[in-house]
Subunit: 220 residues, 2 copies
Amino acid sequence: MSGPTGEQDAIRVAVSTVIFSLRGAPEGDRLMLPLVRRTREPHLGAWALPGGWLDPAENLDAAASRTLAETTALKPSYLEQLYTFGDVDRAPTRAISIVYWALLRSDLVDAQRSARDAPENVEWFDVDEIPPLAFDHNLIAEYALDRLRNKVAYSRIAAGLLPDEFTLTELREVYEAVLGRRLDPSNFRRLLEGSDELVPTESFRTGNHRPARLYRYIAD
Amino acid sequence: MSGPTGEQDAIRVAVSTVIFSLRGAPEGDRLMLPLVRRTREPHLGAWALPGGWLDPAENLDAAASRTLAETTALKPSYLEQLYTFGDVDRAPTRAISIVYWALLRSDLVDAQRSARDAPENVEWFDVDEIPPLAFDHNLIAEYALDRLRNKVAYSRIAAGLLPDEFTLTELREVYEAVLGRRLDPSNFRRLLEGSDELVPTESFRTGNHRPARLYRYIAD
């Protein structure tokens, strides 16, 4: 690391973020992600992942948060580096993209969306209905979805999509939205109630149905 | 991605690789990694991970293989992107490093090492005795070791350190070297024999001990 070749100037560094949230639909919550319509070439007018160029004076995580806020006005509940995509032919000129994946709690997404500074060229898409994207962004979105689905199976990551307290039904619906399939309610309840990390609170969710106990994850 | 700011020229992109192998020691095989003594500033004379600058015309995996070969003359049995390290203060001038981690089969390491083009400023270190390294390379080495230890628990990654066929004792010794602790031979045998992916061959390892059956992993 003593000095670059002259050619290194030709490599540019971008940061992009795939951020997931649950959004209401008539048939139940769906796993969705926001896309940004490009306002310049290349791929003018195409949908793309939120992102932007890395600033030489900022750390990578900070760049992910900043570019996400600038393009979508969203602040993630959870943010983690995913992978760096850097194939020579992924863009017209050489650009590597350090990609983050993020979660946004369902109770925060609407509040953030209705903020007056929410950009107009942003739309949410169902993960099963992602349109053709600019650059290699379809590949990146698939990769992030795989990571989320894999991680939900062995960690408490689903809680990143929920408020601090939730019913077991709500938690199961997150798993179902992430995994894209129905889970047996009794088996799910049995599995989760056996977890050391999930603890019942003294509160109940009331409404049209019989009261359901609220749970929370113990602090990290 | 329409164009960089002028300042982007100030960001340089390196690729580094943490490559592990098992090497014989009087008390049994140890998990080790090669380090390269730096021949220029900054950190002149300090040990560092193998690596170099990304060439604008090559993909990231190719850059990892090339810089590893150029600095150590080693060709990995397994190579996977780990993480991109990019803190502003990790080097005197802004440089991000896309880090790979790799495995080298124990039966190949000595053959590769004795090649006449093996560089002289390379030495192997026990993962428990890594010296102070240049830049943030100690942090990177620890991160790679964590990934390896984590992955060995739920995947067949240990086989990346062994020839195609191996005894259950040899496989247990890989786990022990990676995890840095002894495992109960009976429990280990029971666990592994229950695996669908590990299959017995018709061959046996003979020598000073009673013959031991050789196993292999089924093809991916």
